[in-house]
Symmetry: C2
Subunit: 208 residues, 2 copies
């Protein structure tokens, strides 16, 4: 990106991450380290030459590191510690986007992994979880887990933990649920995730 030539933190940040696709690449790497192919898949619409360019730029500027994973000759991209600190501004932008999300996906593509960032960003830290619960989310062909503990919310890949229930989830519904908890908790209400039995019923209760 061409320099703005301004001694301003925002301008200098944007010279590093303001280029098209850059923050979306960081989004993918915040979910998990990834190989080139994972990034191509997780960034529908990106041209491969751009991805290669951007990865070089981000590496040069110290946001991303290229490392050899596993058995040796496999290249993997990881965020540097400084790069990981982009979680904050990215979560802020996700919160800011709620008015843009209410109309649903329409014809846009969707990847379940994006919820792993969005849901914790939207769920206000002040929301009290009454009863810890782990809910399986079946979205398309992927399965995620939404974990509600007294410490907060977390969304991640399926792990070995017990599920209290399974929900065949629509992405817009999950985001709406999270955003609802955010909005209502701003009004000093409590968002509570409750699981009924061991079946596919998840109820969100907002109590004053």
């Amino acid at each position: 990106m061409r320099s703005y030539g301004q001694y301003c933190g925002l301008a200098r940040s944007l010279e590093v991450v303001g280029d098209r696709w850059n923050l979306l690449i960081v989004r993918q790497l915040l979910v998990a380290p990834a190989r080139y192919r994972d990034l191509v898949d997780g960034l529908p619409g990106i041209a491969t030459n751009l991805l290669a360019d951007r990865l070089r730029d981000l590496e040069e500027s110290g946001v991303v590191e290229r490392r050899l994973a596993g058995s040796g000759s496999v290249v993997e991209y990881v965020l540097t510690p400084w790069g990981s600190e982009l979680r904050e501004p990215i979560e802020s932008l996700i919160r800011w986007s709620t008015p843009l999300m209410v109309r649903g996906p329409a014809s846009d593509s969707f990847r379940p992994e994006w919820l792993a960032l969005a849901v914790p960003a939207l769920l206000d830290k002040r929301v009290k979880v009454r009863r810890a619960a782990t809910v399986g989310l079946d979205i398309g062909d992927q399965r995620l887990q939404l974990r509600a503990t007294r410490a907060g919310f977390e969304v991640g890949p399926q792990d070995g933990r017990e599920r209290d229930a399974t929900l065949r989830a629509d992405p817009a519904y999950v985001l709406g649920l999270a955003a609802g908890a955010l909005t209502l908790s701003d009004a000093h209400a409590l968002g509570v995730v409750e699981v009924e039995g061991d079946e596919s019923v998840v109820r969100t209760v907002f109590a004053a």
Copy 2:
């Protein structure tokens, strides 16, 4: 901006504010509502056709409002309530930029008004102000006030309030001071602004 075609809050945010110059325009309007000429001056390097384009875009997407100010026929640009909520992500990016600011302005241009955003963003809310103080900052030909109260820090244009001291300030010094308070308070120290006498001496004390 061309759509990313992704049902993701970050992607949809960037479709609104991801275009070059957009966030910097919002930065200017976060400081104060402004006329076209103010924006041209506050955004050194922008081409006038781009500014006009971007203002139209931002108006269409509901970030900016064009309104008639003062005695009638004078157009002024203001942030909508939703647009004002961009303060959060912008402040996050300013915090993220600290490693990029330590090398100083070099040949970049600088406007004192930018401190009005950066300093409150950098000063950690947990920093305890021991003694309330109002310090005048002479930067170039503009004069600002840094107000430290028990409620937090604030930087704004000169107002009628009494000054405890006046500081001929270098922008990099002011930013470094604020960033220092952020860093050290993260390490559980306290940043304290102290004013000595009524002269041009400002001392920053960090106590464990």
